[in-house]
Symmetry: C2
Subunit: 1011 residues, 2 copies
Amino acid sequence: MSIDIRQIDPAIIARGKEFFQSISGEAPSIFNKGWWTGKVMDWSMKNEDFKVQMFRFVDVLPYLNTSESLSRHIEEYFAGEDSNIPDVLKWGATKTKFGGGLVAKVLNKTIRSNIEGMARQFIIGQEGKEAVKGIRKLRKDGFAFVLDLLGEATVSEEESTAYMEGYLDVLGAIHKECDKWQGLDGKDLDWGHAPKVNVAVKPSAFYSQSKPVDVEGTAKGMMERIEPVYRKVMDMNGFMCIDMEQLKYKEATIELYKMLRTKYRDYPHLGIVFQAYLKETEKDVRDFIEWAREENLPVSIRLVKGAYWDYETVLAKQNAWPVPVWTRKPESDICYEKVSKIILENHDICHFACASHNIRSIAAVMEMAKALNVPEEQYEFQVLYGMAEPVRKGLKNVAKRVRLYCPYGELIPGMAYLVRRLLENTANESFLKQTFADEADMDRLLENPEETLQRQLAEKPCRTHAGRPPVQALNGEIPAFSNFPPADFTIQAEREAYPEAIAQWRTKLNAQYPLFINGQEVTTDDTLDSYNPADPSEIIGTICQAGKPEIDDALTGAKAAYLDWRDVSPKKRAQYLLDAADWCKKNIHKISALQVLEVGKQWDQAQADVAEAIDFLEYYAREMIRLGEPKRMGVAPGEDSRYFYQGKGIAAVIAPWNFPFAISVGMVSAAIVAGCPVIYKPSGLSSVVGWMLTEMFRAADLPAGVFNYTPGRGSVIGDYIVEHPDVSLIAFTGSMEVGLRIQQKAAVVQPGQEQCKKVIAEMGGKNAVIIDDDADLDEAVLGVLYSAFGFQGQKCSACSRAIVLDSIYDRFIHRLREAAQSIKLGPSEDPSNYMGPVVDKAAAKNVLRYAKIAAEEGNIVVQREADDKYKINDACYVPLTIVDGITPEHRIAQEEVFGPVLAVMKAKDMDEALAWANSTRFALTGAIYSRSPKHLERASREFRVGNLYLNKPSVGALVERHAFGGFKMSGVGSKSGGPDYLLQFMDPRLVCENTMRRGFAPISEDDDWVE
Amino acid sequence: MSIDIRQIDPAIIARGKEFFQSISGEAPSIFNKGWWTGKVMDWSMKNEDFKVQMFRFVDVLPYLNTSESLSRHIEEYFAGEDSNIPDVLKWGATKTKFGGGLVAKVLNKTIRSNIEGMARQFIIGQEGKEAVKGIRKLRKDGFAFVLDLLGEATVSEEESTAYMEGYLDVLGAIHKECDKWQGLDGKDLDWGHAPKVNVAVKPSAFYSQSKPVDVEGTAKGMMERIEPVYRKVMDMNGFMCIDMEQLKYKEATIELYKMLRTKYRDYPHLGIVFQAYLKETEKDVRDFIEWAREENLPVSIRLVKGAYWDYETVLAKQNAWPVPVWTRKPESDICYEKVSKIILENHDICHFACASHNIRSIAAVMEMAKALNVPEEQYEFQVLYGMAEPVRKGLKNVAKRVRLYCPYGELIPGMAYLVRRLLENTANESFLKQTFADEADMDRLLENPEETLQRQLAEKPCRTHAGRPPVQALNGEIPAFSNFPPADFTIQAEREAYPEAIAQWRTKLNAQYPLFINGQEVTTDDTLDSYNPADPSEIIGTICQAGKPEIDDALTGAKAAYLDWRDVSPKKRAQYLLDAADWCKKNIHKISALQVLEVGKQWDQAQADVAEAIDFLEYYAREMIRLGEPKRMGVAPGEDSRYFYQGKGIAAVIAPWNFPFAISVGMVSAAIVAGCPVIYKPSGLSSVVGWMLTEMFRAADLPAGVFNYTPGRGSVIGDYIVEHPDVSLIAFTGSMEVGLRIQQKAAVVQPGQEQCKKVIAEMGGKNAVIIDDDADLDEAVLGVLYSAFGFQGQKCSACSRAIVLDSIYDRFIHRLREAAQSIKLGPSEDPSNYMGPVVDKAAAKNVLRYAKIAAEEGNIVVQREADDKYKINDACYVPLTIVDGITPEHRIAQEEVFGPVLAVMKAKDMDEALAWANSTRFALTGAIYSRSPKHLERASREFRVGNLYLNKPSVGALVERHAFGGFKMSGVGSKSGGPDYLLQFMDPRLVCENTMRRGFAPISEDDDWVE
């Protein structure tokens, strides 16, 4: 049986009106301006800047343990530009002026208690006893409950376990008395059919290692700790609902539900949540119900709008993924009704919890249920504790079966929940805000969302994106640069591509790779093997090694190619890069999978490397088009002066193995697009990846001689290339020692040399992450972990020093230790592993040496090895090492390790932290986790590194957005992927024409002329 | 007696209408579309691009001596983009299609003869006999004449003499028969009072060394050759009028008139021209008449509108001088009437020749003369030969006394005249065009120009300049950058400032100059004298010399200063430069005069040096403001990524003596504004000029330690500075040898060194000027001369090779030789001298060495010494040397001389010329003189130097407009005064903030957002 919503629309509207009348004159307490919360909400809705500051302040508040700290933050957040703003904050304090001494103390106390009070409005209790008491009261008022434990951000298995135990504890507390509770409107059960005890669980919190690339492992991990909770619930004849969180956990969550539901087939009280804001939800729900029918298992769905809209949208935009959520509010409302209908139509097998504050949606559900004759026990209504009191009252009047969603737990995680609620209530499109704060027209509020949508589309048919103008390329207009999206492992095909591509490479082991010189493949007798660091017996390729004669040949070809290439139009040169980028996009899994094998990159790290290469190609192509347009200088009439660029000559590119494709492509493509033919020497450890550049440029049909692939032994050809008079430019990425040697050798002018050599060198780093005492540790711990141990710490941007402020030190180090203990170590090929082997045996030896130094200089906090089963054929595993008790004098605080060794340093204050951060020879990357606006601003200025990240990891630079490179001994030259990078490959030229002849000069539009 | 033009306006208009009626239905032949000229004029008025090409083609035509050359130019000028355009050119040729073989030959012939025919329309004859015949015919038709000899562009005294002889010749030819001529409307005299023979002379042509800075010398030089002509005229009882040319000759021309008129007081038939388009003319005429009254000498004035409007305007705009001409046509017309009135009011002493084609102006003169009762013999009318036939006819009908201005002479100079006439007739505001081509309304044409002006102002009250947006500086808005104006020596005060400022310095000879370290003056025992190269006995100053301890002190101060200075806001740093610029503007003569004495710069060269320094300060200030604004990278929501710059550290600036102030200020100010404190080592030869930087930065109140003045001996402190670990950047301008040494030393990282050193080095040049076979030799000869010998060739941009195409070689070398023989050599202090002494005795020795090599390798064309009287006290004079027979193998074609030695090379074609031009180690500047669009385009691409000038000298680069610097062995780094220069002093930094907290990110306007 099916219905048409359009047909019952009049009934829905009538029902809605009745609903409104039944609550006429009432308003949710949150909008009550007589109270502090209402005032703050009101201010926030009127003043976007205040809202941001307020919500951020709410977020940081639980970390502000001292009066000094609280004072400072109030000052920093609110006393900035508009000294009137804090008035609202002062509500309830004495009327004296804001400022110093005792008054400040009183004020601080007031503000803190106001905000805590606001939080308590939404949270039923901070600990078990309080929660049980709250629940009891609710039930007395006739409401059922569903209990949710705050604190879902777990960074370690210890925290996940604690979270599980929290549930078991509160369930235990309830268990003690719930048997005494009378059912609502019934005896043992609520309303005659529903379990009295009802909990909601956030599955990701139960398994700290959840990740989308590993759906099965994640579901299993979640299962492991949720199962005991579920068993306890079953023990109590209760109901458990699995909440839906961010999209990235969706698949694992559904999988978890299925595992639990089929394992306990006979116990029906298990629910799951779907989110109407997701575009995929309609399909997901249909699939889910179909599964239930196949399995013949009754199921339960709670349908919500979804609480992560901002997050999902920002994340998608940041990653250039399609936005997964509806971007217009009525679209979500339409979806809500549609999906409700689907569920109600399947009421024979699916119980429905309608969780919405939107009276139109509620009315629609009521009318649909009525039209479909859905029995009462098959649907109920849910609203959030502390919100929308009139709605819950109205619901209770009409539908009786109203359940309140009751968060419970400590204030720190509670604040995160509070912010979500505040956001929800202040969003322009919030139904509650429209209804109770804006007092919107009832007809509008109740109209079919299809109509609302049509009206909105008519009013604003195209959405204005902050677009950057397109670029005129050789073959017409191309869009402005944007970064290639990172792998989205929520997509099954993405996950399946890797094992396939890796298997494909395994069919080509031991292949021989020639040189590529002046458009020809050239073989040599001297060869070098490249092996899989996770299993050195696997030879990824045997690579021919260039000697001096081959370098001479390559230079001869490049020299000849230069004569034409420098004059090929910038747009045409750019087109070769765009074509190369297309090839990369088509071959992204092939190139990524190769890196998994050849250098031990994790899937996502490998794909990010190729994405970065694509970005370099796309960005430099556009940059060259921009720079290629001769620029008129001055506005004098009678002369036409043009400034333009010419490629410097032959570029030697000496590339590293750690970003074997991206950095190679970056340096090579910059040189080529700037007009400089290239001889490219990849690292011996990643020469098969290097060979991919040959395939790429062949596919792009680059003229012979412009790109030459000449791997070779540094001892044989290194200095020879650097000192060769025909080389005009050396682009190098690697260690400081080699970089300095290159600079020194290149500065000596050789006989026959036409041009002073330019050296662009990206060298080392000894990057610090500062943890301020108000840092959000949920993010900081994971950020440090990832910055230090992603790709085994083998990044010049890797964090190798964590500088932690004294007062937060213990909390941080504890969580970091546990987090580090929780991650999985093993072959990068298995995506569940966080850390794999280092790149080769020499690297392993070097890391071990530093691990020893670390142990000598400080106290080992964590030292973990991969399982012995992985240590086959001399595989290159090294321990993950965290050492503390380090100060700047220690070697481990000064020397670049280039491996998974993290030094932790305890600083007494921000002054010391900044001084230490800047205390090395390097100045590459850095990060700070802080929620102090002043400290962030100060770090922006005084944490002097090339790339500084605020509340972000120190790694993962994206082309353009995080144009990359440092100074001091970290590098010579301008940031790669930045607006000044290509300039380094070119010499500016200027041609000035005197356009006056016989006293007559044509006047052009941009001349400074008299009329 | 005086009149009010407004009162007689009705009479003027009535008179004008009558005039129009009298010529009703007639039109000037030039607008007759039945003829080729009319067609071309018509096309030109409709199509601005064609007009430019056509006029340029007319200009070059006389140089196209071969059919091949003619064909090629027709193709290049016209067959470019619109293949329809040449139709008009083909008029009169066979109707076959344009292109190859015989047809092309016919076509070429047609085009050439069409254009020559057009020229003949305006020129009465190409040689004496023809001219006399033409005059005879005119007189027969009842018109008087004034004869003008074409060819006023004289580059040497030989040419000036030839020009004088041309006049004597034609006067001789006339003399033979003029006695036979009957007077027009009279017997012996025309109209009963006017001499039958009348000539106009362009005074600058009689003296090739005319220049505004030397009014007296110029007037004398003109006098020397005009006097014989005048005597011949007197001998024939004729009249001579001194034409007025470009503004720069105005003062000397008036002076010349006065000299002649007073020398021959009793002979009244001498006239002078004033130009109504000059804003100063009303005052000039009043002064002139006052002078006549004082001297009690009858005078004669021809009043014209003025023929150099485009030139004067472009020149003023290029030099940022006030535009000296009226910029709205009616303003000139008003001035014409006003000045006419003044002259007519003084008819008792001043005869008036009204030279205008404007019927309103003519009518006004007629009515004013009538109202003032001016006797007929005191005014006459003049029109140009070949133009405005209806006007001359109308005039003859009414006023009888009409004189035609008749140019006569060869086609080459004739073409220049033709272009002026074509321009005049196609200008939108031309009265003739409006009257006869546009058929404008008669009332409008005759209205009082005051009314026309009011109407135009009402229609378009503000003139739209091609303005660049202003810049937000520290103290508010400042205008966009424009170059500081060069000295305008037409202004008397400018001329008088030098002797005064030089005298002032002479009171300070032998003064001692201290070091300036960390805000303190420091003296040392070791000192060095700086002397005047024109008289080494004059000690300009005794300069303390820094040793290593002083350098250490300076570095200590700079290092301390750096900590704050790098964080001073870019706008504030920029303000110090703007303040410094203000100080320079106030002290420009002081600093310039010092250079005249200390390094032997000519006045204009010295002032240009200070102007360039001002430009550097103003430009870099604005550049830093531009670059100082952190740039948002990407548009991702949830993150705020900012790219900005930080000064690298301490900069050592090692400066040369040849642009002792400009280059020093350029390098120093770039470093300082970028955030780098400076230790500045000036050249020992110009350390007193260097001290001016101290005065400047003190005046600007720069914080202590940011600028340190540390002159010293290179042998003592040179390497010490370069190798010092505290120096992060070396900015050097000087020789290649020193530059390469610096680079090599700087590339070695020293213990304690924080940063890899950056070297910015401007080194040598061996610059070529190519003379194409169609080059305008009037400009090319002077351009080469100036490029090679300006400031004695002591510029890295100086031309030291002239590469001349075979087919123009003889003409070029002859004119160059003569030009070089004509210039004056002697102390730079005397502004009439073109070339002075080189900078010191060592330089003189070096130049002599190369002069000897030149003599050995080629054939000396010119070798001229300054007069012995200047060679006092071992003064540093060296001969001006031009050598030819040079090919690229010669040392004199490869090695930088840095003195007045020019090698001339004969190339067989453009291929060879370009190959030779590019055949040295250097790539700094170059120039080409050509009127072949293809060759100019090819040179733009293939003449690979930093600064290439088309039809301009290779010297005189201006900040921004000609951002300066080369590549190959000419330099390392980006162009000074260019958009990439400051980047070299800074490291880019990037700060990226994750603005998302708890899933909530404030969205900014430029985010890529969904709505």
